[in-house]
């Protein structure tokens, strides 16, 4: 009875909202691309459209639109129908949503998901239901390492890559400044915990000698960080690495900049801190000493492909893209390319074969590198760039952008065979 009610409500919502929405005004469900009758396949994506993660959902949908526009210009490209619904950042909701996408909507591919906790739950569903899930935003490296499986692929950098680059940056910084103590502040859920582990592992591999000065675990979407800021100020580390992202990181910075925190420690956020919306939130002046990166930058790499993507996004939305947009864009392009290679989107095994090792020239690629999906881990392999905020109004309303880049080649960041072995266990196969 309960299930029947839920399905009825679901169907009603689907019937009510089926048209492409006005930009920036998404409802609970959005349909993009080809009509159901004309489509070569259906891709069902889950993004938060309400709450603190809503900006990620909004930019992801715009990114999908840019990808579909590009595919529409290519003769012979598969015509995809993309359904997007609000996951509300809840695993229970998203799992049920995924189940209905597959069983009721006939979706061949699942995609999206911002929260790693939600991504993990849906990944387990995808594994159990043998449905391909293309992750576009969530970043816990466990999903491709410990819990990786045949049906799971990720097309945005994960915590391993970003924190492997971060560890290299910290190593170089230690040679310059001699910093000794490091603390970590991360959201207490899958993503934060894995980010901390990945950073520690990378620092250990590099032989960086440091003292752990505390770990702080506020909950995801914590509205008030004063407790943790106070604790950090009472025992300040040399370096604070934070795994906060999106609105959480913005809220933390806004609160911390009213204190001496940025004066007494260097704050680094290697995975999401350099996101465009965060740079906008800094206003005219970023707090001092920040070290930031993100999975995409509007001003790096300075390639035609990146400039074209950023401009296309801006033309469509009137604003510049966050990294979530590039992830969603990449997800749709990857599915389209794999569909073309597999011949049909409905052949899951052929699609898996096509996705494994798939090369994707992307806006995030610096000259000389083409992103590809690692056939072993199903994780996209991309270079990482870490920088510091500086005044730059080339992409308004942001008044600061990252600069002073340190770039780390993609291949040098891949987890070693030993790490794979350790993370997956001695009995695990080399590939999921």
């Amino acid at each position: 009875m309960r299930r029947a009610t839920c399905v009825a409500l679901w169907t009603a919502a689907t019937l009510l909202i089926t048209q492409t929405p006005a930009l920036g005004d998404f409802g609970a469900r959005v349909e993009l691309g080809a009509d159901a009758d004309a489509a070569d396949g259906t891709v069902a994506c889950m993004y938060p459209m309400t709450g603190r993660g809503a900006t990620y959902g909004r930019d992801s949908i715009h990114g999908i639109q840019v990808a579909l526009d590009r595919l529409a210009e290519e003769p012979g490209a598969p015509r995809l129908r993309v359904i997007i619904e609000d996951s509300r950042s809840k695993a229970s909701f998203a799992v049920r949503m995924a189940e209905d996408f597959v069983q009721r909507e006939g979706a061949e591919i699942l995609c999206g998901i911002v929260s790693s906790g939600v991504g993990r739950a849906v990944s387990q569903f995808a594994r159990d239901n043998e449905t391909i899930l293309v992750g576009t935003d969530h970043a816990s490296s466990r999903l491709t390492l410990e819990e990786g499986h045949r049906h799971y692929f990720r097309v945005s950098s994960d915590t391993w890559y970003s924190h492997a680059a971060g560890a290299r940056y910290l190593q170089e910084m230690q040679e310059r400044t001699g910093w000794r103590t490091l603390a970590f502040l991360g959201p207490d859920y899958e993503y934060g915990r894995v980010a901390w582990r990945d950073l520690r592992t990378s620092l250990e591999q590099l032989g960086v000698d440091y003292e752990q000065a505390g770990t702080y675990w506020p909950r995801l979407y914590e509205p008030d960080y004063s407790l943790y800021i106070q604790a950090l100020l009472e025992s300040p580390p040399d370096i604070l690495v934070t795994g906060l992202w999106g609105g959480d990181f913005n809220a933390f910075v806004q609160q911390a900049r009213t204190t001496r925190l940025f004066e007494v420690m260097t704050v680094a956020n290697f995975d999401a801190g350099g996101n465009y919306d965060t740079l906008v939130s800094f206003g005219a002046l970023a707090p001092q000493g920040l070290i930031l990166s993100a999975r995409h930058h509007v001003n790096w790499p300075d390639t035609e492909r990146n400039r074209h993507f950023v401009q296309a996004f801006h033309d469509k939305t009137g604003t510049y893209p966050s990294y979530a947009a590039v992830g969603a864009y990449t997800g749709i392009i990857a599915i389209a390319r794999a569909t073309s290679q597999a011949g049909t989107i409905g052949d899951t095994e052929a699609m898996i074969d096509a996705l494994r090792g798939l090369e994707l020239p992307l806006p995030t690629d610096p000259p000389g590198h083409t992103s590809y999906i690692d056939p072993e881990t199903h994780q996209i392999v991309q270079a990482q760039a870490i920088g510091s905020p500086r005044e730059d109004d080339a992409f308004p309303p942001a008044r600061v952008l990252l600069g002073d880049w340190r770039v780390y080649e993609a291949e040098s960041l891949k987890p070693s065979a030993a790490v794979l072995q350790r993370r997956r266990g001695p009995t695990a196969d080399a590939s999921p």
Binding site: E146, R200, R219, Y221
Partner: protein, 568 residues
């Protein structure tokens, strides 16, 4: 002089009393202020806040227990524990929704032997037991019974991983099932400790969560290594779970205490400095007052020459007093000198008048007799002797006239007249003598200057001075007579380039009857000075032996037709 009678000592004591009063007053105000501050920080408001904090934590746990009640009493829950039993999707969805909270790692199911047999990840699910391969155990964790609920833990943060608490209840038994096991909520420890934080803007009160295993957890969820001094017991939340707190007003009061100590130090330094300054001042003052007393004693003893030493750079009250003392001594000395001089003059005048009367009449008789004898004397030689006697009688008459002039000197009627008139008359009168000596007299200066004095006495004075100058000059010398303005006076300089005077002579040259010439009476310059003084002027004299002499006369200046006092 003792400190009790010393004015400086009294000022010192008064200043110290004022400083001590001010410091004491400020200390009292500070003590009352800090007491009020501490009272506000730790008074009844704190108790209310602690109670509120305890309610927040209790409510959170109560909500979890309520959530657990729903699960533990649900008849389908044992399916999660039972071997080989499939959980209906509706039930699984219910449990997933219950688990989907940011404060829950997940929902754990235990069999009758307390072994973890199933779990449903929550929104915060991470680490063991959700991550396979990570060791996880509840062994060694404290257990608190609270009704039919069991609180297991806390497992404190370890190796950088966050801590947790398990809130567990036994599952409702199913028919044929002896022990269906239990269900537990795997709760973030920070979700509890965060609620222990006190909303204390001053930051003076720190709260901690005391757990059954004795740990003291900070609001950030970290165990405290050292128990703070002055830790106080707060309200109990559950058996063995308590909110302890400390009032750490140091960071608020320390600056005040530092300021208080600084104030004491400043007051002490000021007191010491004050005593030192007053001590020095007293010494200096006493030394200088002693000088005043010595001067006064000397003056009283008749030493009118005694003067106090005054430094020109300083001009404090004692200096003013010393200047006043010296001025008083000067005036006293002048007054005494004038009195003595007046008395001398009076005596001398009386004497001279007596002598003149007694001498002049016989001299007249003698002169008439000598003249008669001379006219009848045929002997040329005797007649010349009689002429010499007559000349000596004339000289004696002049001396007697001078004596009378000196003894009866009085100021004539003053008038305002041009100095050039006096210059012209005087030079005319001395012209025969100057021509005889071959000496020129050169008058210069502003001839229109007018003086207020008796014209005859001025002319007489000038004649006396010019005659002295002529007699001191050599042939072809020039005597300069010059008039100029000096303040309210006309200055008249009579300068010769004659033999000049030795200092000893210069000191006495105005004394009556003192003369360096054989035929002088020693009264000319004395009479001149007396006449100048009688006309409100002054006579001074500078002279260098072999260089010449300048006699300077100051007489009151005037403008014809205007009251004289306006120009004085």
């Amino acid at each position: 002089m003792t400190p009790r009678t010393s004015l400086v000592g009294k000022y010192t004591v008064l200043s110290l009393v004022l400083i001590l009063s001010a410091v004491t007053g400020l200390s009292i105000i500070y003590a009352r202020f800090s007491d009020t501050l501490i009272e506000r920080l730790s008074g009844e408001r704190l108790e209310a806040q602690l109670a509120g904090t305890a309610n927040r934590v209790s409510a959170f746990i109560a909500n979890r227990i309520y959530q657990l009640e729903i699960l533990s009493s649900h008849p389908a829950m044992p399916l999660y524990v039972a071997d080989g039993m499939e959980v209906p999707e509706g039930i699984a969805e219910l449990v997933r929704v219950e688990a989907d909270s940011p404060d829950l790692y997940g929902i754990l199911f235990f069999d009758g032997g307390n072994s973890l047999v199933n779990l449903v990840p929550g929104q915060a699910a991470s680490g063991a037991p959700y991550w396979q391969g990570d060791p996880w155990s509840m062994a060694g964790l404290p257990r608190t019974e609270y009704g039919r609920t069991e609180i297991i833990g806390p497992h404190v943060p370890d190796d950088g991983e966050p801590g947790f608490v398990i809130i567990r209840q036994r599952l409702r038994s199913l028919p044929g099932m002896e022990d269906p096991g239990s269900v537990g909520l795997h709760v973030r420890l920070a979700a509890i400790t965060e609620r222990v934080r006190l909303e204390d803007l001053a930051g003076a009160t720190r709260t901690y969560l005391r757990t059954p295993n004795g740990n003291l957890l900070t609001p950030a969820g970290h165990p405290l290594r050292d128990v703070p001094k002055g830790l106080r017991e707060g309200p109990e939340i559950l058996p063995g779970w308590r909110i302890d707190y400390e009032i750490e007003a140091g960071h608020i009061l320390n600056p005040l205490r530092t300021a208080q100590l600084g104030m004491y130090a400043l007051a002490a330094a000021t007191g010491i400095g004050l005593v030192a300054v007053f001590w020095r001042l007293a010494r200096s003052l006493r030394r200088r007052v002693d000088q005043l007393v010595t001067g006064a004693d000397a003056l009283a003893g008749g030493d009118l020459q005694y003067r106090l030493g005054v430094q020109d750079q300083r001009w404090d009250e004692i200096d003013v007093l010393a200047h006043g003392f010296n001025s008083m001594a000067n005036r006293l000395q002048q007054m005494m000198n004038r009195t003595i001089q007046s008395e001398k003059m009076a005596v001398l005048g009386e004497f001279a008048t007596g002598v003149a009367h007694e001498v002049r009449n016989p001299l007249g008789t003698i002169k008439l007799t000598v003249q008669a004898l001379g006219r009848k004397e045929p002997d040329q030689r005797r007649r010349e002797l009689l002429n010499d006697v007559e000349d000596e009688i004339d000289r004696l008459n002049r001396v007697v006239s001078d004596l009378l002039t000196y003894g009866r000197a009085s100021a004539g009627d003053p008038s305002c007249f041009e100095i050039r008139t006096a210059f012209r008359k005087a030079t005319t009168l001395v012209e025969p003598e100057s021509r005889e000596r071959g000496v020129d007299i050169n008058a210069s200066g502003d001839s229109r200057l007018c003086i207020h004095a008796n014209p005859e006495q001025v002319v007489q004075s000038l004649v006396n001075l010019l005659i002295n100058a002529i007699q001191a000059s050599q042939e072809d010398d020039i005597i300069r007579l010059r008039a100029s303005t000096e303040g309210a006076f006309v200055r008249i300089d009579v300068t010769d380039h004659g033999c000049g005077m030795e200092p000893a002579t210069r000191e006495r040259v105005t004394d009556p009857f003192y003369t360096t010439r054989a035929d002088g009476t020693g009264l000319g310059l004395s009479i001149t000075r007396q006449l100048v003084l009688l006309n409100g002027g002054q006579l001074t004299l500078t002279s260098e032996a072999g260089e010449g002499t300048t006699v300077t006369v100051h007489l009151p200046r005037c403008i014809p037709g205007e009251p004289t006092s306006l120009h004085l």
